[in-house]
Symmetry: C2
Subunit: 211 residues, 2 copies
Amino acid sequence: MVIELTKRQKKIIEIVKNNEPISSEKIAEKLGVIRATLRPDLSILTMSGILDARPKVGYFYSGKSDINVFSQEAEKYLVEDVMKMPVVVTEDSTIYDAIVTLFLEDTGTIYVVANNYLSGVVSRKDFLKTLMGGGDMNKMPVGMIMTRMPNLATVTKNETIIEAANRIVENEVDSLPVVEVMEENGKERLKVIGKVSKSNITELFVNLCKK
Amino acid sequence: MVIELTKRQKKIIEIVKNNEPISSEKIAEKLGVIRATLRPDLSILTMSGILDARPKVGYFYSGKSDINVFSQEAEKYLVEDVMKMPVVVTEDSTIYDAIVTLFLEDTGTIYVVANNYLSGVVSRKDFLKTLMGGGDMNKMPVGMIMTRMPNLATVTKNETIIEAANRIVENEVDSLPVVEVMEENGKERLKVIGKVSKSNITELFVNLCKK
């Protein structure tokens, strides 16, 4: 629930900030009104947590007015709520086959697996660079040009979208593979179960604004 | 300012919804408390606009509790607040030169101009398609492979980020050119002054959540 503070409520906050602890009588005096007039304002300001009231001492400013409504709303969304199906090829696929897959699936990033576990990521940019360099795309496997584990940013389905968005921005990537962490022979392996991208976050942004 | 409603306040909303108009005496009766107990709750609920109070009639439910805090916050941001510098080439540039520019500027989309006005857009995807098709990138101009006006989604700097995000999602593009609309010989021309992309929106999302 959102309340737009009135002018008087904002004045009260200022008075308390500068004079804490201060009694309701003193606040009323400074505003030139009677105590009863302030009662609803003070109950709103204490119930919202902006002011603290201590019996026989007075009102304190709690500093809580800076609550971030945006993240309160956004942090309800988990990666699993918005993730899409990943597009996956095996490490020995030729670059040509991988590019064909890229166009067929109309995606910007492909995840590469070896023995069913995540081994790398390859994007339009990597393919373009390879073609510009004149590599033989019918012979070279994607494994040769992909960004390889463990240099990959990933996310799990139970993390929040805020955490995913942060990681996308920090790592300057378009998407993150959503992974399940497994153990095999004492080694950590990642199974790719989804994909979360800037597109998902832009869509979520639009939907949150419509809701 | 955000207030978490108490259980009793939520109950009051339900009672008013189902019995409007209803007096404070009747609400108190239904809750088994005295009227004075309800006074702070009722003033919070009316000040926030969730309930309407009409003298001698009673309380009404205004339906305002569904205020969208998310869009209230997001719509303060205009395109000009987050837009980046656009990367621009002329329509007669070779595809090779345009791809080199793409890598030098580390961008995913290039805007194409003719006589200083927007004439098209070309992306990594277009380049990759051309190279796969075996075109001679040293001879072909970008004008041959770009998406051409008027089939382009654009945005102006005074529109909100919400409008820009909407247009990005609807048109399934990665970015929009930010344009100034000019007139030349009675014709509408667009001058490119910026770029707004899914990356900007993802960054804004992260920043709004941190703030």
